[in-house]
Symmetry: C2
Subunit: 501 residues, 2 copies
Amino acid sequence: MTHALYQLIELSFRGESALPVIATAPFTVRLRHADGDEVTVAGFWDGGRDYRARFLPEKPGSWSWAVENARTPLDVLGGSVDVGEARGRGPVRVAHTFHFAHADGTPFRPVGGTAYNWLHQDEPLFGDTISSFVEARFNKLRFMVFPQAGGSVEHAPELMPFEKTDGRWDVTRPVPAFFQRLDGAVRALGEAGIEADVLILNAYDRGVFGLNELSEEEDAIYARYLVARLAAFPNVWWSLCNEYDQLLRPEERWDRLGQLIADIDPSQHPRSIHNWMHIFDNNRPWVTHASIQNGFATEKPGRARIYRDAYYKPIVLDEIKYEGNAAARWGQLSGEELVDRFWNVTIDGCYASHGESYETESGSLQIVEGGRLRGSSPARIGFLRGILDDLVVPGLDPIDKWDDPELGVGWGRRQYLIYFGRTAPASWRVRIPITHYEGEAPVEDDRFVVDIIDTWNMTITRAGEFEIDEVHRDFAFAGADPVALPEGEAIAVRVTRADLV
Amino acid sequence: MTHALYQLIELSFRGESALPVIATAPFTVRLRHADGDEVTVAGFWDGGRDYRARFLPEKPGSWSWAVENARTPLDVLGGSVDVGEARGRGPVRVAHTFHFAHADGTPFRPVGGTAYNWLHQDEPLFGDTISSFVEARFNKLRFMVFPQAGGSVEHAPELMPFEKTDGRWDVTRPVPAFFQRLDGAVRALGEAGIEADVLILNAYDRGVFGLNELSEEEDAIYARYLVARLAAFPNVWWSLCNEYDQLLRPEERWDRLGQLIADIDPSQHPRSIHNWMHIFDNNRPWVTHASIQNGFATEKPGRARIYRDAYYKPIVLDEIKYEGNAAARWGQLSGEELVDRFWNVTIDGCYASHGESYETESGSLQIVEGGRLRGSSPARIGFLRGILDDLVVPGLDPIDKWDDPELGVGWGRRQYLIYFGRTAPASWRVRIPITHYEGEAPVEDDRFVVDIIDTWNMTITRAGEFEIDEVHRDFAFAGADPVALPEGEAIAVRVTRADLV
């Protein structure tokens, strides 16, 4: 059998039952490619006498493998797998400092959503969440492994991650059915083209389940088990915690957990930690991208970009307040406001996540349990995703980061995106800045195609093709006649060199 | 003789001449207070057979001292000094995370200016710089140890910091007269109440003097010598470099230099490194405060505060573009614009430095050579300094950092400062937010004094004393009648609990 490149390969074993799950894996598997590349993955216990090891191949060809360091006798100790053509694009990693790309080089622009307690919902809610994300074109889902307690949670799960020993959660006795469900959730997202932004810990247990009481050693055992199970799924992202600073743990403890995951994940998935009021030091080496809660930073353009030059990593504004009618001020944005925030973030060279806080039939919120989306923003955010997917540049960087945000984002002489915000002018003269962050300066005779984007009405109208006929000081101009902009409060312009369209 | 607390004590010695200056100090002096406190300072060579050791006492009483680790025979090997009452307030250090205070606890609010090449000017320019700073009420001066070459520099100094050996600067042979002049400059600033923000290296040599060619080992020898000479001046701040990233050195090298200074400075003066286009990782442990060049961050309120939660250190915007008529866009701000930027920074809980770029009689700029100030902003910035000095709180922190910047800065129930920017309303209803970052919520019957500040016309008008008569949701209100605000585009309001005025 030939496996697909960028798809999980699972090796199954029979061993001893009841081997406790500890920091040391029950066995490891060393895989060796015909050309000498080696990868080592940790095996894991999956219930009864079942053991597995999972591998995410990033190179086609033949991989031989051998069991090493076994703490349990296994029925198979070696073999080989053949990897053929790619299915999917491979795991996402940082590209061009501020952006992401799949392993095959395809840019990935996160346009994600949020359903914290999704994993713990029954059908049809569980499946509806995925289908509503597909419909909205969201490509990342932030959800928690451990169940949420308290605020707006109407559903306590039956499946819990660990057995109890003497009344205390025992991380050495994981519940296979719980983690198999998690496997299935990640797999289902992957099949729907959605990255699984896995929140390993959360701050919302509030003592109800007691899963917030794990010690640092217990966290590490759990994290090793989680990485052994999930790291071979191509669509996994690791987020250490949602609102980490609600948990009273020293920052050093989070730092060690993040470094542990960096050390043991063979696939080097994206790693982040999400704040409440105190942003983590995203300059720590294990942090691959900043996952920041700060709606304020997205309310006006020019704020979120400040983070880029504090961290020199991709900036993902995960929680920028929600569209909805909640009583709390984090959940009262109109659809227009949330869409405007997404565009502000885009024009600052950053990314954002959606969340919705209209009360649902069950009395909960979509950000908590998932399900169908009610708001007016998802369609427009999906429209934005389409624009990002169609970019002919690796990422959008501010053209003139610390001087003129009106020059928009893009790459010099290739493509530019300008957003006029909620007060668009009636017309725009085609002028392209000489300055640039990436790329090069436009020159006379360059031809550019100009598209007018109505971000709310979701239209893209070709204004025409223009030739640069004047380069004067800071700008290259095309023609004297400005392009008319439509009525509407949220208009953008996309300028693409004609040969790249 | 009794020395003053917080003033430099100098011990003088005679030893061998021509002992090369290397990484190991020629001797150290261990000082021991009667109650057991110990401080060790490095001695240094000061020309011929003269050696010195300097000590900045932070505790009154008797300190005995003894020479240790001498590489040269010295004429005196021990003694004692008596320290009496304080003169001055002692060195500045970080206080309350985002702010500064002198060693005696007095808050220090940097309102500084810039004259990069000041040290290398003759009189009257040299003295005029200090007197113009005193007149403007600037309390910090950013200047470079090594001379500037190139842009707007009309004066090449005769004194250089080192002798040459085989045509190359020899850091083991410092020029005492050069460093004595530096001592005098720092002392003169101190006597004028101005902190000396010493730029240890700079990016403007451009090969003219060749001082940009020192190796990492040579940097370290120079830095050790500089610290031995200057660390006992109470008003010293260390800045590793202006626009460090113009020099093509790996970030790790800067990091090691910063850590070296942190390790060897007995007085632990403020430490920073100033960027051109790439902000240094201000989360590095040796960085005490962020010294950031980014005028854009100060152009609108709500931007600079983003840095606070990236670094959790004081944020000093050192270079926010200059008031002047220079051709380059960094030097074309009007006085009104620069004053507005200072207020934006203040209202974001940060600090800024002034700079002026009107062409001077010599064809240079004030930011380069110093001298008298021509612009309209210094008087207004000095006025702002007066307001900061009069604060009854340790520092100004955004009241509602990620939600409502219009709530201003301050400490809950003590003092608030609100800046209406360049579009002030005609009146303001006295309302005090319940939320707070520091301090506590106001309650009914609290009395507050309201002052109207015209930031441009430099007036403070008492609007009256108001009693809180209604607490409703997010605000405490005093009376139904709003306070009238004067005409003018840059109005602020200061609200102080009556018993603290």
